[in-house]
Amino acid sequence: MSDPSQLKFLIVDDFSTMRRIVRGLLKEMGCQHLSEAEDGQVALNMLRTSRFDFVVSDINMPVMDGFALLAAIKADETLRHLPVLMVTAEARKDDIVRAAQSGAAGYIVKPFSKAVLEDKVQRILSKMGVTA
């Protein structure tokens, strides 16, 4: 598979501040193709109209939350291969279990450091067979 700089990332969060931070960190990791969506529904529409390789999603969002987005991705034959990294302020164990059982590729609790995001993304990319 191609290197991470060629992959298309979709960052989903209702807080623009958080989207900018995740975008900045992914950029520093060499990721160049970065798009943003402010809720799960907007993200799902984007995923169904454009090709993406990786989704980084918040959980608590209006309109469609991260769990509903994850479920919609995994229920869609053309999207279910997409890795979804959940980034959320919720550290509730039942949420973590639910995310894992719903097919999330990883789970990060805010506030997080650059090292934590980098580690999680690299692990997922390794599983995808992408080398930095």
Binding site: T17, I21, A91, K93, I96, I108, P111
Partner: protein, 198 residues
Amino acid sequence: MNRHRARRLQDPGPAAPRPLSSVPQLHRQLGQITRQLQEAMGLLGALPGLHRSALDLPDARSRLAAIERRSFAAADRVLNAVEQAKQERQRIAAAARDLARATPADAAGMRLRAALSEIEAAAGRVDAQLTDIMVAQDFHDLTGQMLAKVGALAIELEAKLLQLMEQARVPMPGPAPRGEDTAASQREVDDLLAKLGL
């Protein structure tokens, strides 16, 4: 054995609470507690205070909204500044590299190259600090979510307080404490995920 000791040994102590046998019985008891609370609040003069609190809540909510707006604007300004500073840092580092390449390898040139190398290294350290400043702006996301929850709670509290003034006057439940169902750290999250095979 003296009389006091004998009585202590025979005394079964305070009676254990008996289970309520029916829903009507539970309702009667709740009604009794509510009446006692109303009487106690009336005696303490708490009802006028609660009324004032209910009237103050819209102002508290508008202050919360102002905090949210100001913290968003502050985080936005910092992120703009960080992004510009990172671009400047890249330009400084690139200029230092170009100048070092163009510097002759004589004694003076070698000193200049060493200085330029230090400038480039310092620019790298500044970039790491800028990244830390950028990531620290996540406070806005976290405090924003908390403010939203407190704002929603204030709306609910306001409605219930006003209702309390008018009719039932029931006490409000407090927020749920952080308990066993909450992971305390990223490490705990990772351990849980590992157990789940992720």
